[in-house]
Symmetry: D2
């Protein structure tokens, strides 16, 4: 699979939002948030989204399933700075028994700062081998 989703910059296109505040440790010598620090932001949004569905990621892991990122695309539009309040908007772009594709929009002060897509495999926690997603996960993109 490849990234097939083109994440829009309109928050209305997203079904979930996670709010966080930029830490000083996440900034770099350019005076803005380091481009690598956005990945934990997206990850936190995913974790909170799964919790909101009643399926905390920790439970999924205890059931023997991991959702490693197998592909990632990010576009940086405007910088985010120390202490900014950031909203990470999330939408399920596609889902199947074997992969999950999520789209993200990062905003602060009501303006778009970045868009992103992550593609996840569904693997067995022990072996790291591909396994089949539980039905609720495979059908995630079909939620009303």
């Amino acid at each position: 699979m490849r990234v097939t989703f083109d994440p829009p910059t309109d928050p209305a296109a997203y079904s979930f939002v996670h709010r966080l505040r930029v830490r000083f440790a996440e900034t770099d010598a350019m005076g803005v948030v380091h481009h690598g620090a956005y990945l934990p932001y997206l990850e936190s949004a995913r974790v909170e989204y799964l919790r909101s569905l009643g399926h905390p990621y920790g439970e999924l892991r205890q059931e023997g399933i991991e959702l490693p990122v197998i592909e990632l695309a990010l576009r940086y539009l405007r910088p985010v700075r120390f202490d900014d309040v950031v909203d990470v908007h999330l939408v399920v772009a596609s889902s199947s028994a074997t992969t999950l594709q999520l789209g993200y929009l990062v905003t602060a002060d009501g303006t778009a700062r970045a868009t992103a897509v992550t593609v996840h495999g569904v693997v067995s926690a022990g072996s790291g081998r591909p396994t089949r997603a539980p039905r609720w996960l495979a059908n995630l993109a079909r939620r009303p």
Copy 2:
């Protein structure tokens, strides 16, 4: 600009390589390197590549130029683990007076672990506004 380069998995397609060793701090509870920890690997390879050209990134910054990442694509093929010796192969995919596109192949033990592309803007260090790249940088993709 968008990512237009599709990074090959053959190291022979790359012109530069930077070797590093995985730190324990870069692993996560899946027992492998966290997907976000690859970004500093790519960054270190860029910095060493510029140094190898006689243009350390620090000098570029002192001349008032920054090369922020404005777009990023990553594909994770096989995990990398604590203490692995990792080679980050780099090639200039395209360059102009305003942007730079780099391709990467991450290998360990001779096998491909990830491929990546970063697109960089050329901005003024003070204002963050777009500026023009010095000639050597704009012509980087044409190097023999």
Copy 3:
């Protein structure tokens, strides 16, 4: 100055608390939060404490003052894991025109996980040279 404060494990000894949730990116291959990931936790608690006083750290920086960590002591008592809800308790141990000493207790599920002390210098944002703290900061330890 040296660390002179011995942080107690009783939350009642602390005057402020900041709650956060452990990110997956903060774990390591031991399956617990990496010991280095606690430092941003303490930092976030400091930032929120200053905000609670009506003196956001960002304002302090705009006024030309930084509070770099010049000394740090940490004791790890029990691990913290992915998705744990963590409370960082904070108390001002001492303050003067030139230094600030803070004590911390990290708890999760009501049990102590770590204690810490940070000592901060008061420096000029531009030069990094020591400067004098504003009166409210110098007198912080005397707050009722």
Copy 4:
């Protein structure tokens, strides 16, 4: 156990040195290396020190032993900046069947930038419970 070692600022007092280069990702908006980024530096020096003894940390982990940090003290003397070449000097301050205490001196350009001490427990990789160190590890402080 508590930190009992006071790390000197003379490199001659240390028995091992590990060299690394500061990454851009390790800097913060103060324009210097973030105080939390020193912890992976110390960790890398430990790992290379054990390797130099013929006991790679990875092997120790495969034998079922982990050496988690249970206590940490750091003193920041002068900042380190992007692209600086940093030497992490290391000495075994004390060792026993149950704990290991290491001292560190961080230098750049021949001047002291930080000193540190880490105290490690010896625990079983599976359970995290205290276990006994192999003889070579328990006797590390007695090496000629």
